[in-house]
């Protein structure tokens, strides 16, 4: 809310600088997010006296003026306004001046005559709406020529962030109340005396409320004899400073009262209301209302409307209808000053995109006697400004006295909640300046009477906050954190952080990217964005972020592509992030998160390598990452985290990931043979679609399943015998999977085999067409010296099994 300080001072003394006021308000929960001085963007605009005027020799509609701006030399300025007269004091923008909108004034030639500046209208200065005439500042000695105009019009405006629960503070009076509470000052209420005419309001207006739940109170006053011209300049200036556009006297009065007291109002041209009857009802399906912004709005049952006996004439609390808009010809006015159901106003305003200063105040609630007080204040102003006659009496749907709310508060509980020492008297002293009355009712309890404007205070905790605000948040003690609870602390994020540390240690860079991706990202990666399994957002910020990623792969490829664009030749990346899925019916997936909405979230670790592990250096040429480098990283991660190294199963045609090279794609298998991840080289077409030159390799691992493989095993004592190393040369058919070969060695060799590492592969004439010779380093660990014979037996078993299962030749 924009608060012009001069306007605020009308209701309360502010014995401090704007900066100090801002600090005080902020510390009491009314955060001041900025202090602006309007007119501060004028430079070199001063008061000038028109010494003489004469017709421009070359133009009938222009004047040549001579103006004294205080420096002794008269300026010749060409002026097009017809209200300029000799002797006037006027705003002069001198050469070099800057006006609102960054308009720069330069020496210019107008129809052959040099003009040394400009005489300004109110609109040009941003202090009023009048753009036709010079803004006359006086005709006698009101101001000295040369006076900086900022001294006349500069207005300090605070931008106050009033919290949603403090609708009562969304006005000059509301802030004045807060200020008076901490300065000990008194709030000065504006004059709301009304001089009623003989003409009875009842004879011209009646109100029928069909939805009392949605309209707890409706008041109406009736006026005639209205002359609806422009509002006075002081009112226009205040409204502009508060961010409102002046419209006409009647409309400006309603806006002025809204800012002054916090009560939104609407003025209807009485001539447009059939039978003078106002009905507050729900909209009808299909009903159309043209609002004053000349947009036809389609109404429905969820909206609260103001109607006459024939048709809707306004959206309750939001905007009036065009058919009853007040204009220059308006002579009779019906003024609405009502309370509407906040959520209904909010819902309607949001759906129509029509949020306004008025709807915002209705949303936050309007308390106490405000509708009636505001009606009277507006009547007072309308009488003074438009010459209106106020009808006798007021239509009020609920004139009954409202009992004040009383909240019973346990003093000891309040002490415990706030951590400060209190008693009934201290609470009374703290709350009295805020308008709360405190009565000690014994048994350690007090009854707190809430002032009618404080709709937000309903429970003991709300009272506690008022006590704390008055006490001062800064004065509340700050004890050290309570001693730690027993040291075991569960932390589900720790294993993920461990994975991150390991992968960074292996030389990979961590990336965090968006969970929301675009259909194009999926398409480029070979996925179908129209797949029913994909979870979409109904109202995405952009199409590029409309889908919750069903896999990490689109993110990983986007990350590689980004770095390729930046001419990075060797991105080795990882990301620990979630993927999002519909939960398959009847299936519970362990280790995933869900709110029970039928959607699940699964943590994955994604890896993406492109280019060499290390740049070329002397004696070490660079070698681009391939699938085996990727497996090396995966295996190192497993070893480092304490999980068994995975087996790899080539992806079959049915299960092939669409982004992977069909001959270079595999699943990770756990010791039980269950897949928990995939890896491979990116399909050349997919790499091309992402603009990635080279041959990236990528992997994604289901993190809960990986972490489930981590088991704490008992430590193995150091063996008492030396290990025995043997190299084995095995010639097999070239299509034989090396994984199968190694598995046979391990299973047939038994527990003595502690390592079986292929270190060479030879294809050529010496082993025959279609055959390959693998050299495999075996390490056996006998458990006792006598087991050396066991090693020989194991070697024989291995050879036998390889021959039997693979037709291998052992050399």
């Amino acid at each position: 809310m924009l608060v012009p300080l001069a306007w605020l001072r009308e209701y309360v003394d502010v014995p401090m600088s704007p900066e100090e006021l801002a600090e005080h308000l902020t510390l009491r929960g009314m955060e001041v997010s900025g202090i602006e001085v309007t007119g501060a963007d004028w430079t070199d605009v001063v008061v000038g006296r028109v010494l003489a005027i004469e017709r421009h020799p070359n133009a009938d509609t222009l004047w040549l003026t001579r103006v004294d701006t205080g420096d002794g030399e008269a300026l010749e300025i060409v002026c097009g306004a017809q209200n300029v007269e000799a002797g006037q004091l006027v705003p002069v923008a001198r050469v070099g001046a800057v006006l609102p909108g960054d308009r720069r004034i330069e020496r210019s030639k107008i129809r052959g005559l040099v003009s040394n500046g400009m005489l300004c209208s109110a609109a040009e200065l941003g202090i009023g709406s009048d753009a036709d005439g010079i803004h006359v500042l006086g005709t006698a000695d009101e101001h000295a020529p040369g006076t900086d105009l900022r001294q006349l019009f500069g207005e300090v405006v605070l931008d106050v962030d009033v919290k949603p629960n403090r609708g009562d503070a969304l006005s000059m009076i509301g802030l004045a109340r807060e200020i008076a509470a901490f300065t000990g000052g008194t709030v000065r209420w504006p004059d709301a005396t009304v001089d009623e005419s003989e003409e009875s309001t009842d004879g011209h207006v009646s109100v029928r409320i069909e939805e009392p739940e949605l309209c707890p109170r409706f008041t109406a006053r009736w006026f005639d004899g209205v002359a609806n011209g422009a509002s006075p300049e002081w009112m226009q200036r205040r409204l502009l400073a508060a961010g409102m556009r002046p419209i006409s006297a009647v409309v400006d009065v309603t806006n002025y009262v809204m800012h002054e007291l916090g009560q939104p109002q609407h003025a209807y041209d009485a001539a447009g209301i059939h039978g003078g009857e106002i009905v507050v009802r729900r909209g009808h399906e299909g009903e159309v209302l043209e609002t004053i912004d000349h947009v036809a709005r389609r109404l429905d049952e969820r909206m609260l409307v103001i109607a006459d006996r024939e048709r809707a004439i306004g959206l309750a609390g939001i905007m009036g209808g065009a058919s009853t808009e007040v204009g220059e010809s308006t002579t009779a006015v019906i003024l609405e000053s009502a309370v509407f159901h906040g959520p209904t106003v909010r819902n309607t305003a949001r759906r129509l995109g029509l949020r306004s200063e008025a709807s915002m105040r209705h949303e936050k609630g309007i308390g106490g006697e405000l509708p009636r007080l505001a009606a009277d204040r507006a009547a007072h102003l309308l009488q003074a400004i438009t010459g209106a006659r106020t009808g006798r009496g007021i239509v009020d749907s609920d004139p009954s006295d409202k009992p004040a709310r009383v909240v019973r508060v346990n003093v000891e509980r309040t002490e415990r909640l706030l951590g400060i020492a209190l008693d009934a008297r201290l609470m009374a002293d703290l709350l009295a300046p805020l308008g709360f009355a405190v009565v000690d009712v014994g048994d350690g309890a007090v009854d707190v009477t809430v002032p009618p404007h404080r709709l937000d205070v309903v429970a003991a905790e709300d009272v506690a906050e008022e006590v704390a605000r008055s006490y001062g948040y800064g004065e509340i003690p700050a004890p050290l954190p309570a001693p730690a609870l027993p040291p075991f602390r569960s932390d589900p994020t720790e294993p993920r952080h461990a994975v991150r540390r390991i992968l960074a240690g292996l030389g990979l860079d961590e990336v965090v990217s968006h969970a929301l991706v675009g259909a194009e990202d999926l398409r480029r990666t070979g996925y179908d964005p129209a797949d029913g399994a994909v979870i979409r957002v109904a109202n995405p910020v952009s199409e590029a972020h409309a889908i919750l990623r069903p896999a990490l792969y689109p993110s990983l490829l986007a990350e590689l592509a980004e770095n390729v664009r930046q001419r990075r030749t060797d991105p080795w990346l990882f990301e620990v992030g979630k993927t999002y899925h519909h939960q398959p019916a009847g299936v519970t997936v362990p280790g995933v998160e869900t709110a029970g909405t039928g959607r699940i979230e699964i943590w994955h670790v994604g890896l993406a390598l492109l280019g060499p592990r290390t740049p070329r250096s002397i004696g070490a040429p660079a070698r681009d990452a391939d699938v085996d480098d990727l497996k090396g990283v995966i295996e190192a991660l497993h070893v480092a985290i304490g999980a068994p190294v995975p087996a790899y199963r080539p992806e079959s045609v049915d299960e092939l990931h669409p982004h992977l090279h069909p001959g270079r794609a595999a699943r990770l298998l756990d010791p039980a043979g269950h897949p928990y991840g995939s890896l491979g080289e990116v399909h050349p077409r997919v790499a091309e679609a992402w603009g990635i030159a080279g041959r990236p390799v990528v992997a994604a691992i289901h993190l809960p399943r990986l972490l489930a493989l981590v088991a704490r095993a008992p430590a193995v004592p150091v063996p008492t015998t030396q290990p025995i190393d043997r190299d084995l040369a095995v010639v097999v058919d070239a299509a034989t999977p090396l994984g199968d070969l190694l598995r046979i060695i391990r299973t047939s060799g038994g527990p003595l085999v502690v390592e079986a590492r292929p270190f060479d592969a030879y294809r050529g004439a010496q082993v025959g067409e279609g055959r390959v010779s693998y050299a495999i380093a075996l390490r056996f660990q006998p458990t006792a010296a006598s087991d050396e014979k066991g090693v020989e037996k194991a070697l024989n078993r291995i050879s036998g099994s390889l021959r039997h299962h693979l037709g291998a030749e052992i050399r």
């Binding site: 003690p477 569960s490 994020t493 979870i535 979409r536 980004e562 999002y580």
Partner: protein
């Protein structure tokens, strides 16, 4: 042969051998000398063998001399071999000299993302205060994200959280799912989940990704990270909240960090708090980063509202506590003086590679 002849022979041999040893320039020549003098058919060996021809009376004296010379020669040979060997090693080491100014062969160094190092620091600080870590889902129900947190439908405070709605499956164009599923707009619903899952005393922090319908600019994004905190027991007060937040700020930003504790507003806390630290850019003198106030708000907090305790299955007549929430992105940006939020999620290694894994 006379004894005198023999004695002269031995002395001559000694002198000759000593000279030859000194003249030998490599170990091979010394070994040749050894063979020539002391080997099986060496010259000194031959002399020793011929002692039998000396009269028995003179034999001990001449034998002593010959054996003495033999010992001296053996020692001299060993010493000479040592000298020559050392010289060889020196020559080798000299030949092996490297250009020690050359840079090392590169080893790949990975980097942790700054958001995650800051999250780690949060966990460590709050671990020391006795907090556990608790997590909840990102795809949430409207009930958990709003209603359980005392934010009814069409409440004006919903404006604080513009929501991204999950689409009804199969809808085209997409419409919000009929079951009210949304993307959580804050980590606060995890408070409810923690209260339902744990028994007081509860002390948890709850990190996680959040989503809002928010246009992207230097300080806003539709995705961001928060860390939520919750304490529920019988006595924890607003003062305890203040003390803990001040210690947290000092742990994160340094012992001398200035802090400010002032009223705020959240529907799920009462009283509510905004917590500021002295501007990390200007130190408090006022700059554009702090809107010339000298302060930066780093988190919101307050005493858990009784409605929220009740929604979490906690008896508000017996238990009370505080909650706080802060933006991991904002705190990371402040700590590393990162000017634009978009850099954090951009995957650009030119940016990410500058962050060391340590503090």
């Amino acid at each position: 042969m006379t004894t005198d002849d023999l004695t002269r022979q031995i002395r001559d041999l000694h002198a000759e051998a000593t000279g030859a040893l000194a003249a030998a320039t490599d170990a091979g020549a010394v070994e040749g000398l050894r063979h020539d003098l002391l080997g099986r058919s060496g010259r000194l060996t031959a002399i020793l063998r011929s002692l039998s021809t000396v009269p028995a009376r003179e034999r001990p004296a001449i034998g002593q001399l010959a054996n003495g010379v033999r010992g001296e020669l053996e020692e001299a040979i060993a010493q000479r071999l040592g000298e020559l060997g050392g010289r060889d090693l020196e020559a080798r080491l000299e030949a092996e000299r490297l250009d020690m100014t050359a840079p090392g062969r590169p080893v790949r160094v990975g980097h942790l993302h700054p958001l995650m190092t800051v999250e780690r620091d949060f966990r460590e600080i709050f671990h020391a205060f006795g907090f556990e870590v608790f997590e909840g889902p990102e795809i949430e129900t409207d009930e958990m994200n709003f209603e359980a947190l005392n934010i009814p439908p069409d409440h004006p405070s919903r404006d604080l959280w513009d929501t991204l709605f999950i689409a009804e499956p199969g809808s085209d164009p997409p419409v919000p799912a009929a079951d009210g599923t949304i993307l959580r707009t804050h980590t606060s619903p995890v408070q409810i989940r923690a209260m339902r899952a744990l028994e007081p005393p509860i002390r948890v922090i709850m990190p996680g990704r959040c989503f809002r319908y928010d246009a992207v600019d230097a300080s806003h994004s539709f995705e961001f990270f928060q860390v939520e905190g919750l304490v529920v027991d019988e006595t924890t007060s607003l003062a305890d909240l203040k003390g803990t937040l001040i210690e947290f700020a000092r742990a994160l930003y340094g012992r001398d960090t200035r802090t400010r504790f002032r009223p705020g507003y959240y529907p799920f806390t009462e009283p509510s708090v905004a917590f500021d630290v002295g501007c990390l850019v200007c130190g408090g003198s006022g700059c554009p980063a702090c809107r010339r106030t000298g302060w930066m708000t780093i988190l919101g907090a307050g005493m858990v509202h009784p409605h929220v305790l009740r929604a979490g299955g906690i008896d508000p007549d017996r238990y009370q506590g505080y909650a706080f929430g802060m933006g991991l992105d904002r705190i990371t940006m402040l700590r590393h003086e990162i000017p634009d939020l978009r850099l954090l999620m951009a995957a650009d290694l030119r940016f990410l590679d500058q962050f060391a894994g340590g503090r």
